[in-house]
């Protein structure tokens, strides 16, 4: 039972992580842009959604506004600033996006204050569902899983079945060739960046009620997203999904079961203290192990 519950938790985390990582890997694969500030859209989504939900009482409105805000800000930042660092190498990109993190965090602190804000679960989903005898699971968490699956399916459909998707895959696998074949790369870049920002914001808005909405929440999760991209391979949406599931599984099962597993041969207090730290570490160990055998990740977009 505990295992089933943890599996659902892993699925929930994995899908949300996928939404964040998908944007990151696409931006990296198509524009060769290292975007450290990707987590800021996650944070923006959570803050905007929380505020709109509190003011209007409607979660649907909250989501729409959050997505629009993130996409809008994202495309504006790309158009005004980021296009100037595309050819400049990763150092410049790291510095500029790091600066954006500083600006974003401080701006959020300015508008909303330094304390974490509260985002409640929508009343219609506040209950629990009995999935199996002895296992009742939060309705909201199930909603996250359903929404995540729907969005993942939509993303896959877009990437594999639409013209935009073809341009995206072409750009990811060979940028210069795509441009030579007539793809309007600057509009594509702006669109992709906006899309990534919106996906990130969606994850932030969905996770807002169950995690803490505070300044810096983006920085914590962006590391996991980077690990996902490294494991999954750059530019690959499929790789991002695989990587997200793997990372979420290791993290969730690790936190849940590692302390008791360690407790079998270590004193209990050490095991409980070491457990969560070790499960974090195990994600990175896993990343190192995968890289050892597959230096380009599990499913890189380029051959």
């Amino acid at each position: 039972m505990l295992f089933l519950e943890q599996t659902l938790n892993a699925l929930q985390l994995g899908l949300m992580l996928f939404l964040i990582a998908a944007g990151l890997t696409l931006v990296f694969g198509i524009m060769d842009l290292v975007n450290l500030a990707h987590g800021s859209f996650y944070m923006l989504g959570a803050y905007v959604a929380a505020t709109v939900a509190a003011k209007s009482g409607s979660f649907a409105a909250a989501f729409l506004v959050a997505l629009a805000a993130a996409a809008g800000v994202g495309m504006l930042v790309e158009w005004l600033l980021l296009r100037r660092v595309y050819g400049r190498g990763h150092l410049s990109q790291v510095l500029v996006t790091f600066a954006l993190i500083l600006i974003a965090n401080e701006t959020v602190r300015w508008i909303w204050g330094a304390n974490p804000i509260d985002m409640g679960v929508p009343r219609s989903l506040a209950g629990s569902v009995a999935l199996a005898p002895g296992l009742s699971y939060s309705e909201y968490r199930l909603a996250i899983i359903v929404a995540g699956l729907a969005l993942a399916a939509a993303l896959f459909w877009m990437v594999n079945c639409t013209r935009l998707g073809i341009w995206i895959r072409a750009g990811a696998s060979n940028r210069d060739m795509a441009r030579a074949l007539g793809v309007d790369t600057s509009r594509l870049f702006t669109l992709v960046f906006g899309l990534g920002a919106a996906l990130s914001a969606f994850a932030g808005a969905m996770l807002g009620p169950i995690l803490s909405v505070q300044v810096g929440m983006g920085e914590a999760i962006i590391i996991l997203a980077f690990v996902v991209v490294v494991i999954g391979g750059i530019g690959s949406v499929r790789g991002a999904l695989l990587g997200s599931i793997v990372v979420a599984a290791v993290d969730t099962y690790g936190r849940a079961f590692l302390p008791s597993a360690l407790g079998a041969f270590l004193p209990l207090d050490i095991a409980t203290h070491l457990g969560p730290g070790l499960s974090q570490v195990s994600i990175f160990v896993l990343m190192a192990a995968i890289l050892f055998f597959r230096p380009r990740g599990l499913m890189p977009a380029t051959g």
């Binding site: 510095l95 993190i101 203290h273 974090q280 890289l291 050892f292």
Partner: protein
């Protein structure tokens, strides 16, 4: 060999720094001795990153964790020395804990680089970032050494009988001496055979391999040296504050070190000192104006990156054609 402007700058800077404590005491602004000490500690860390990035060509976000690991090493050894029942043999002498901090920094750097260097360049940055966080979580979860609350040191390390680091002026001069030595070592390193190979790798790595150089090994050693420098900076910082917390290892700290590096000038000999000083000056100036100084810092950083990417240190060196 860059003689002329760079040497003159160095001489002037060192002389000014040597004169700082007496001037500060005279004008009753002793506070600045502490600030300058902090600048010198960070200058060593930034010079280390400069070696890794500017000379080795490796963009790394792991230096913050190496600095933090050095700080923790010194703190842990010091704390263990005062306990009755110890887990590790402890020491309070700077002659043991500071080299230990450098060794830990070098070994961790070696470990991180040995994996990160095996992959494509684009992954390198992200992997150093991931390792940085791994170390952060490791220290975070070590409740026995403070965990989230951090670890305090009862007193500064013992240096020599009669030369107590408790005295801020003495500590300042020690930091200055270490910085000067480190800068001199860096200068020799850059112009040595090893430095030439690093330069060649930075310009054209595949050709270096075709010439017969095992480039992986050279980059590995460069990264380890950078780790040692960062560890030393950490030892100095924990002595200054008598406190270290996992927050010192957060990746945003690594980012800050990178910011200091670009401000000072990537690959410039005095880039470490200039960058650390510039950053801390900006921090002081802007935060006096407004609480929202980080926005100003962000804007300044973007401006520097786009319009003055060679940083302050490049003002002293003629443009390389």
């Amino acid at each position: 060999m860059k003689l002329g402007a760079t040497w003159w700058f160095g001489i002037v800077a060192v002389v000014l720094l040597v004169l700082l404590p007496p001037i500060a005491s005279f004008t009753q602004q002793e506070f600045y001795i502490g600030v300058a000490t902090r600048v010198l500690a960070y200058a060593i860390a930034v010079s280390s990153l400069n070696l890794v990035l500017g000379h080795g060509g490796m963009l790394s976000l792991a230096q913050g964790s190496l600095l933090g690991a050095g700080a923790y090493t010194t703190a842990i050894l010091t704390v263990e020395a005062t306990k009755d029942v110890t887990f590790l043999p402890g020491a309070t002498s700077a002659w043991i804990t500071w080299p230990a901090a450098m060794l830990v920094g070098a070994l961790l750097g070696l470990a991180i680089a040995s994996i990160s260097l095996r992959t494509r360049a684009i992954f390198f940055l992200m992997i150093t970032l991931a390792f940085n966080q791994m170390l952060y979580y490791l220290f975070f979860s070590m409740k026995v050494y403070g965990g989230d609350d951090g670890l305090g040191m009862a007193a500064r390390s013992d240096l020599l009988p009669g030369l107590a680091l408790e005295n801020d002026t003495v500590f300042f001069y020690v930091a200055l001496a270490l910085f000067a030595i480190f800068t001199f070592v860096q200068h020799r390193l850059v112009h040595s055979r090893f430095g030439r190979v690093l330069e060649g790798i930075r310009i054209n790595e595949p050709r270096m391999q075709a010439l017969g150089f095992d480039t992986y090994r050279y980059k590995l050693v460069c990264f380890a040296i950078g780790g040692a420098g960062s560890g030393l900076a950490g030892a100095l910082l924990v002595n200054k504050n008598l406190f270290v917390s996992p927050g010192l290892l957060d990746w945003l700290q690594s980012g800050t070190l990178l910011v200091m590096t670009i401000l000072g000038g990537v690959g410039q000999l005095w880039g470490g000192l200039l960058g650390a000083a510039a950053y801390l000056v900006i921090e002081e100036l802007l935060s006096a104006y407004t609480q929202r100084w980080q926005i100003g810092l962000g804007v300044a950083l973007i401006a520097v990156t786009l319009y003055a990417p060679r940083g302050l240190g490049a003002l002293f060196v003629p443009r390389r054609p």
